[in-house]
């Protein structure tokens, strides 16, 4: 409102906020472009792989026979038949593995969170779980081969595959369960103790149910992961083009094993089986992933 200013636009002090210089803006824009680019680059192979699998495999699985028949009695070049035997193998091996891994994994997580504290054993266990996460599936398979087939003298069977898968599944279950148990509020535990509930009952009836949705989600994701593993089935089970319900003896097919077998089959039938099995495997894994999402939504934690 003053009247005696010579130049009303001139500031008394240099401006506090200066324009961002061109070089800084260019650098910023460049970095933003790079970062977006990195993300887009990662999307390319994902879309490309899925497109390949769907485009080549989708016509195959539309046939009802695919889901209901095995390849029993068919020659390599004969079209027809299905992947029933392999789907059965993949599901059963995965489920048996799950039945063994889940209790072990959850108990380890309970030990780490509820009992271990900062003891030496707990530290060693955490370290070993980390190491087990990184053990290549082929090494796990070789280990089971050594113990189960060489030393115990058992034959190759679907059950051996399941045990090898346990080695791969347990660390995943431990990790997710541990994370979930850690976020269960201590107030819940203390309220339970205050009522005179023993510690183990508190864990079973209070802590686990609270964390249940997260644990189940983790289990589903872990199952999806082990079902796609190929190395253990390759080492520990022989392929059979027919259905074999027996877990403990005889060759049993699974989807990855079927793909390994059919990839060298140059005929049209081989092409169809290969990509049909690929899309079936991807579908099963997607199904388990979806199940995980649904579980985490439906059984969402009751406490905030």
């Amino acid at each position: 409102m003053s009247t005696n200013l010579a130049d009303p636009t001139r500031l008394a002090t240099p401006p506090t906020f200066q324009a961002v210089s061109l070089s800084r803006r260019i650098k910023n824009g460049f970095a933003t472009a790079l970062v977006w680019g990195a993300f887009l680059i990662a999307i390319i192979p994902l879309v490309w792989v899925l497109y390949t699998v769907v485009q080549r495999g989708f016509p195959v699985i539309l046939d009802g026979d695919w889901w209901q028949k095995s390849l029993s009695g068919l020659l390599a070049r004969q079209q027809g038949g299905g992947a029933y035997h392999a789907i059965y193998g993949t599901l059963v091996q995965g489920l048996v593995c799950g039945v063994i891994s889940v209790p072990i994994g959850i108990m380890i997580a309970i030990y780490l969170v509820e009992y271990g504290g900062r003891s030496k054993l707990a530290k060693a266990t955490t370290f070993m779980v980390d190491i087990l996460t990184g053990v290549p599936s082929i090494v796990a398979a070789l280990f089971i081969y050594t113990v189960w087939i060489t030393y115990a003298g058992m034959g190759r069977s679907a059950f051996a595959v399941s045990i090898a898968l346990v080695l791969l599944m347990v660390p995943v279950v431990v990790r997710t369960t541990e994370e979930m148990l850690k976020i269960v509020p201590d107030e819940l535990r203390e309220a339970s103790y205050a009522l005179g509930i023993p510690k183990w009952k508190t864990i079973v009836k209070i802590v686990i149910p609270t964390a249940l949705s997260g644990i189940l989600t983790g289990i589903m994701l872990a199952l999806a992961r082990v079902m796609g593993e190929t190395a253990p089935v390759l080492v520990l089970a022989a392929y059979a083009p027919f259905i074999n319900y027996n877990l403990f003896s005889g060759p049993m097919a699974s989807l990855p094993l079927m793909m390994v077998n059919e990839r060298n089959n140059p005929t049209q039938a081989g092409f169809e089986r290969l990509w049909g099995a690929a899309i079936t495997l991807v579908l099963i894994i997607t199904l388990f992933n979806l199940l995980a999402t649904v579980i985490s939504r439906v059984l969402a934690p009751k406490t905030k």
Partner: protein
């Protein structure tokens, strides 16, 4: 799971809070009941319920089990490898020959396997590291808030695709697409040893180059996921401070997020390296096998530890021949163990990540 002697003593038995090590004191002060003195080491009446004892035993046992398990993996692999190593006619570590078809005359050395494994993994890592860094920054700093989660889910989907599917895609789809580019690299940069014409037919695509790219795609999700977690923990204050000083988005990232997350990112990359070293089926499907020695070119074929074992696995019949592969598996186990242990120790030194 029965619990015969409960509820005799309402509070204070077991060791609530002791194992957790936190929150016992603050809540106790609010409680109307006077807190039972916490003395878990010397309880007045050492009464532990049987249910508690069993459950604790089970949990601790599971913890011990996993420690023993890792030891057993090493032990059994060693036990099985030693006899074959003794029968090996040539030096295990420095030879390039691999012939186990005659168990009476085993000739196997891992030098070529080691070199191919390392080259594939390093190529994969070189490709995946910058991209994973970009994605992690994108997901934590750049992506619109409401889209960050779905985007992260998309990247995680990469991890859900089975490795055998990646392998088939790499060999049948990516390989042919890369062929002109490979040819061009060989023609123009062929005088550099790593781009020299390799020992397998480039047209088939079964080269270390293809395998490295596919493995890079496969280790992207793990590097991204771990880096993302670390970047997410950048203290809010640092970021806001940088913004208040007028930093651009990139300057915020460069001065706060990157210095904070550097160790985590390096550790994540080591985890990715561990995965790459052990990647089996995709590499087995893609790499063309060759009897020629590895010649330091990206366009060579060959076999990694894992792919060599997987290729031979269905024919493991003789214990001595199988022992040769198990010896190779043992080296792979030690290699991944060391890499993973380094990755872990890097993060262990940084308390701010917890």
């Amino acid at each position: 799971m029965n619990d015969p002697v409960v509820a005799k003593r309402p509070a204070g038995s077991g060791d609530p809070g002791a194992a957790r090590g936190v929150a016992a004191a603050p809540t106790a002060s609010e409680a109307p009941i006077p807190p039972t003195p916490e003395a878990p080491e010397t309880p007045k009446a050492p009464h532990v319920r049987p249910g508690d004892r069993i459950f604790r035993g089970l949990a601790t046992g599971s913890g011990v089990f996993i420690v023993v398990l890792i030891g057993a993996i090493g032990l059994f692999l060693i036990l099985q490898a030693i006899p074959s190593l003794g029968l090996d006619q040539i030096n295990f570590l420095t030879s390039r020959e691999w012939n186990t078809s005659d168990p009476a005359n085993l000739r196997f050395g891992i030098l070529d396997l080691l070199l191919v494994t390392v080259i594939v993994s390093i190529l994969a890592l070189l490709i995946a590291m910058p991209i994973a860094l970009g994605i992690a920054l994108f997901l934590t700093q750049y992506a619109p808030r409401n889209l960050a989660r779905p985007f992260a889910y998309v990247v995680d989907l990469l991890a859900a695709v089975p490795s055998i599917v990646f392998g088939l895609w790499g060999l049948f789809v990516l390989g042919p697409v890369l062929y002109p580019f490979s040819e061009w690299l060989i023609d123009t940069l062929g005088w550099i040893p790593i781009f020299a014409k390799g020992n397998v037919n480039v047209q088939l695509g079964g080269t270390i180059f293809t395998a490295g790219i596919v493995v890079a795609v496969m280790i992207l999700p793990i590097i991204t996921a771990v880096s993302r977690e670390v970047f997410d923990r950048t203290p809010r204050m640092h970021i806001e401070g940088a913004i208040a000083l007028g930093a651009t988005k990139w300057e915020v990232v460069r001065t706060t997020v990157l210095p904070f997350g550097k160790a985590g990112y390096v550790s994540a990359s080591m985890l990715g390296l561990g995965r790459a070293l052990g990647e089996t089926i995709a590499v087995m499907i893609i790499l063309s096998t060759t009897s020629a020695a590895f010649g330091w070119s990206l366009f060579d074929g060959g076999a990694t530890f894992a792919s060599k074992i997987a290729l031979a696995a269905p024919e493991f019949n003789d214990t001595r021949s199988a022992g040769a592969y198990i010896a190779a598996g043992l080296v792979l186990f030690v290699l991944t163990f060391v890499v993973n242990a380094i990755a872990r120790s890097i993060v262990a030194g940084h308390k701010e990540y917890e």
